[in-house]
Amino acid sequence: MAEPLLEVRNLIRTYGGNRSLLGGARPVLHAVNDISFHVAAGETLGLVGESGSGKSTAGRVTLQLEPADGGSVRFAGQEITGLSPRQLKPVRRQMQMIFQDPYAALNPRMRVGSFVAEPLVVHGEDAHKDRIADLFRIVGLDPAFMTRYPHEFSGGQRQRICIARAIALKPSFIVADEPITALDVSIQAQIVNLFQDLQDQLGLAYLFIAHDLSMVRYLCQRVAVMLRGRIVETASVEQIFSNPQHPYTRSLLDAIPVPDPDRPRRKRLAFDVASNIPPREAVMAEIAPGHFVLQP
């Protein structure tokens, strides 16, 4: 098998530790603790977990927005951990990020046209108005909006602006950090469809970070479930939904609302995270082709 577009191995990111000037060492928090995953070109991997499970950190470290404290990130065959900002710049053309809160993700003092054009300017490309107008059309916005400021837009429109900026350089990989969580339910579906259209048109690969599994089912081919900084289960979407192995995965599945009122509700599995912190020595085992589960 050819090397995947993105290969993350044994990634570690810790916070705290011996950095305080006075007093002793602060406790070390392993936000991302020895996780491995890969994303093939044109594929979508869902990264799912509750708040604080380390999924957003994993996304940021993957893009080298934060340094890794251990492990490796290979992108298109190149090791990108430990690169200088100058060495990273050509890599950044290829990988982009979309954020959760579209209200905080736009510079309030910058016209949205300039904001979308910025990646082109930074990488010395032609940022002509026509090209920006095309980007606006691709994400379903009127190019006449270019000269406006962010506060004039709704949440869904803002997220479209962020997406236009992210695809301006025609990247091959995008980390989408809960891009629909902050949006109205009616808008969520539109944005998910936009993600899918862009994937078909541009051959994008996504790392789609989410805290529940409902949208992941429509958007992703494979899913990785995170718990307390560890990946506890990785499998294809079909395997996760038909044969969930880890108790935490099952509790996430049970949390999805069932749209059929006649169907009896599944009993909620009471899953207590605090008493189910994955033990340090736990390892992943392949229980079916492509289906890995963390063994207790």
Partner: protein, 284 residues
Amino acid sequence: MRQFFSELSRSKAGLAGFILLVLFVALAVLAPWLGLEDPTRGSLRARMTAPTWDGFWPGAHPLGTDEVGRDILSRIVHGSRTTLAVAGAAVVAGGIVGTFLGILAGYAGGLTDRILMRLVDIQLAIPLMMLALLVVAALGPSIQNVIMVLALTSWIRYARIIRGQVLSLREREFVQSARAIGASGWRIMLRHILPNVMTPALVVATLELARIIVMDAALSFLGLGVQPPNPSWGRMLADGRVYISTAWWSVTFPGLAIMLTVLGVNLFGDWLRDYFDPKTRSAR
């Protein structure tokens, strides 16, 4: 702009401050065309003339003359030119340096931040007036030196406030997003952070303007500001205080000019701070 004035007209204090400020700036700008006497030429025959008023009409010296017979009104109006020019230049110079260093400290963090902030702490521990006296005494009193020394006492206030703003801004997602597209640190500081700290910088600037006008007057009073015969408010106070018991007008009117300008700037600055603060804004 229209919203600015409609908000301003709702605050009596803010409006009063704004009008005072506009009045003094207009006087300073229009001074040569107001038909006033030469502020540097006196007439010994007319020395120590009390304010001359003919009923409600001002006479030859509506605010009187000083000990060498120079017209006080003319000296106040012309003095406002130097005062406002010196204070304005010092505010701009201090604001640019302070804002830049505040952004640098906040965004770069680490050693840069610690060095800059310790510098601020050290300077705060030295009485500002003493520092100003020291520098002017060492370099000699000239307009450039006065501007420089006033800016030197001013940059720390910008640096501290701007740094705090930057600390929260740099974690915002649009800054992260700029890093994700590979923008350089300079680009992020200039294009993403600077426009978002302009508002607090502007508020600090108005409050600093008031402080600097007083400090400029104090330096002139001590003889370290603008040199005679050019008029300056602080100098007029210093020269007139000898005659305070016989010619009350020689100190009263320059003192009033200082007070009204500073009051105007302070009132307007306070209102401006409230105007830009989203919390007090929504309460209105």
